[in-house]
Amino acid sequence: MEMSEAIVLAGSAIGAGLAMIAGIGPGIGEGYAVGKACEAIARQPEASGAVTRTMFVGCAVAESTGIYGLIIALLLIFLKPFT
């Protein structure tokens, strides 16, 4: 393996790891949303269906930035676009 290729591969691997830092945001956001949903259900158990549905949609939207990070990481590791 040439030196330049090795450097690119190492850089891709490090970049993939750095891209997954994006997982922090959705983690915090979804935890916050689910916590609030639990509070809401505890206060008003009869609305649990509507609260749960809304929470899932909110979680899905909050998740998208994390998924973008994941896709960048997957591209860097498996497709190796820079080699």
Binding site: R53, V57, L74
Partner: protein
């Protein structure tokens, strides 16, 4: 030294490959390369399964003395109708068949990976196609209720400077939907592949001829990455489709029912 040769299949994965779907044949139409992939074949299988299931569940429907089969069919139809009514409001009830179709297709397309083949939904073009249909429906709804002029006016809504941002948000809606579903399913399958590969290697290190460690342990993770995540993503996809489409039209004049 093993007493007898162990077949290759039982020795567990030796290397981790992550590839796109296999291309079976490539056509060229008007200079465009069209790949006939594994996904297309699997999609037809999924469609046949759904069609067969729908056909079997809806034969000899009766008003009185319903059979068990009919009860199951009625329960499913009622559940999805209630979901659409609660989320979109009564006037959008005619959307139910489309929503139910996408839901079934997404679930069966993801669950087909349990049979050891590639999931249909881990191919990005499938999800992009569904998201494009949603985008089309949103646009048609906007034009239907606001007219072409109103639709174009929506892009310069508060002030004309917002034009690029509005276009970006319009385009990012289907892209984000497709990427979310794809990322979850494809990411889950890659993680499961890594787990199988790692456990097979681990049992090779401690000199087990058959990778015993891969029995049992991945099942619990598969419960999340294959079953739960598949149902969740299908549900989220149809929820977002419903929310976006019903937001494109004017608000329902009657208050939405909650169960």
């Amino acid at each position: 030294m093993a007493l007898f040769a162990i077949p290759k299949v039982l020795q567990g994965p030796e290397e981790l490959n992550v590839e796109g779907p296999k291309v079976i044949k490539t056509f060229e139409i008007f200079g465009l390369k069209i790949n006939f992939t594994e996904t297309v074949v699997l999609e037809w299988i999924v469609m046949a399964v759904i069609l067969l299931g729908a056909f079997l569940l809806t034969r000899n429907l009766k008003v009185r003395k319903v059979s068990k089969r009919q009860a199951i069919a009625e329960m499913a139809v009622e559940a999805i109708t209630n979901l659409v009514r609660d989320t979109m409001g009564k006037r959008w009830l005619w959307f139910t068949p489309y929503i139910a179709t996408v839901f079934c297709f997404s679930i069966f397309g993801s669950l087909i990976s349990l049979l050891g083949v590639r999931a249909v939904t881990s191919d990005f073009s499938v999800l992009l196609c569904w998201a494009a249909i949603t985008f089309l429906l949103i646009t048609v709804t906007k034009i239907r209720y606001g007219g072409v002029k109103g639709y174009l006016k929506g892009f310069v809504d508060p002030i004309p400077v917002m034009l690029p941002i509005n276009i970006l948000s319009e385009v990012s809606t289907p892209t984000a939907m497709a990427l979310r579903h794809f990322g979850n399913i494809a990411g889950g399958s890659i993680i499961m592949g890594l787990i199988y590969y790692g456990l097979a290697n681990l049992s090779r290190i401690i000199h087990l001829q058959v990778p015993v460690l891969t029995v049992g342990i991945p099942a619990f993770l598969s419960l999340y990455f294959d079953l739960f995540s598949d149902f969740m993503q299908a549900f989220i996809f149809i929820m977002l489709t419903m929310v976006f489409i019903s937001n494109a039209g004017p608000a329902d004049d009657e208050t939405p029912q909650t169960n």
